[in-house]
Amino acid sequence: MKARILVSFKDSVLDPQGQAVRNALHTLGYEPIRDVRQGKVFDLELGGISRTEAERLLPEVAAKVLANVVIEKYTWQILED
């Protein structure tokens, strides 16, 4: 089973790296890009568990390890059974 967890800064947290990327894009003339928020992608391969168990496990590891919930939010999805 394949799953993906996305971690990025909460909207209330300033993301200076995303801003630097946005500014670089503006320098290159990509003016329509109004804002950039940078984050992390975790592609996970799971084995030996059911889809229901995976649906419990993914948010758990996201909240406990992959994201620091003081500053970051996460989303998860199962890509392949």
Partner: protein
């Protein structure tokens, strides 16, 4: 008083801390391997600076799961003294022994230089040899030292007097310029509500001998010695 310096893979200020507590302070000091489950009867645990686990994931995020951290958490829970310096501060935040989290420095630069910090609270086991308002010259070396916490947490921390040091200019004034990494309320050092766990981004262990350029870090080391009952 016995000090223990925790060594993680990637720690690089462990030897500096060991030297500062053993030689400059003249106290029995031991290294504590992160994989052990034994604090060897130390009176104070030091989490040193460096790049534990290569800063993978987030600074301090993996070190938090090291076996010895179970004992450190228990030790802190019983009122044991814990000092986290730089990466050690980041580990304490990840452990939730201190509130908030670290963001990248405001100008996205690794900062390696002397800074001046002001003692905000001199009624702590880490600063009782200092006086409120005293300015200390101590070096920093970090990428992620921009302390952040939700507004409610900041209010609570300020209300409890948990801010121990703030970045300031050489006269002790708080300016935007002197808040070098962009920390909320210019926080440079922070303790828990109980006052036995402190994290600071500046490196007191690198400012303990005049040959190093400053002896101001001794304020913290000497304060710790005052805790011997």
């Amino acid at each position: 008083m016995k000090f223990g310096v925790v060594v993680f893979p990637g720690s690089n200020c462990d030897a500096d801390a060991y030297h500062a507590f053993k030689d400059a302070l003249g106290q029995p000091t031991t290294y504590l391997w992160h994989k052990d489950h034994d604090l060897r009867g130390v009176d104070c645990v030091i989490l040193p600076g460096g790049f534990s686990y290569g800063d993978y994931l987030r600074s301090g995020a993996i070190a938090r799961f090291s076996p010895l951290m179970r004992e450190v958490r228990e030790f802190a829970g019983k009122g044991g003294l814990v000092l986290g310096i730089c990466n050690g501060f980041q580990v304490l935040l990840e452990l939730n022994l201190l509130p908030g989290a670290m963001l990248r420095n405001k100008r996205l630069k690794f900062l390696c230089q002397y800074v001046t910090i002001r003692v905000e609270n001199d009624k702590t086991p880490f600063t009782r040899k200092g006086t409120k308002g005293r300015v200390l010259r101590i070096p920093i070396a970090h990428f992620d030292g921009n302390w952040y916490a939700p507004l409610e947490t900041v209010k609570e921390v300020e209300g409890n007097g948990q801010v121990v040091f703030r970045y300031c200019d050489s006269e002790g004034r708080l300016t935007e310029e002197s808040n070098i990494n962009g920390s909320l309320n210019a926080v440079a050092g922070l303790m828990n509500k109980e006052g036995n766990v402190m994290g600071m981004m500046p490196h007191p262990e690198r400012a303990v001998e005049s040959i190093l350029g400053s002896e101001d870090g001794l304020v913290v080391l000497h304060s710790l010695l005052e805790n011997i009952s």
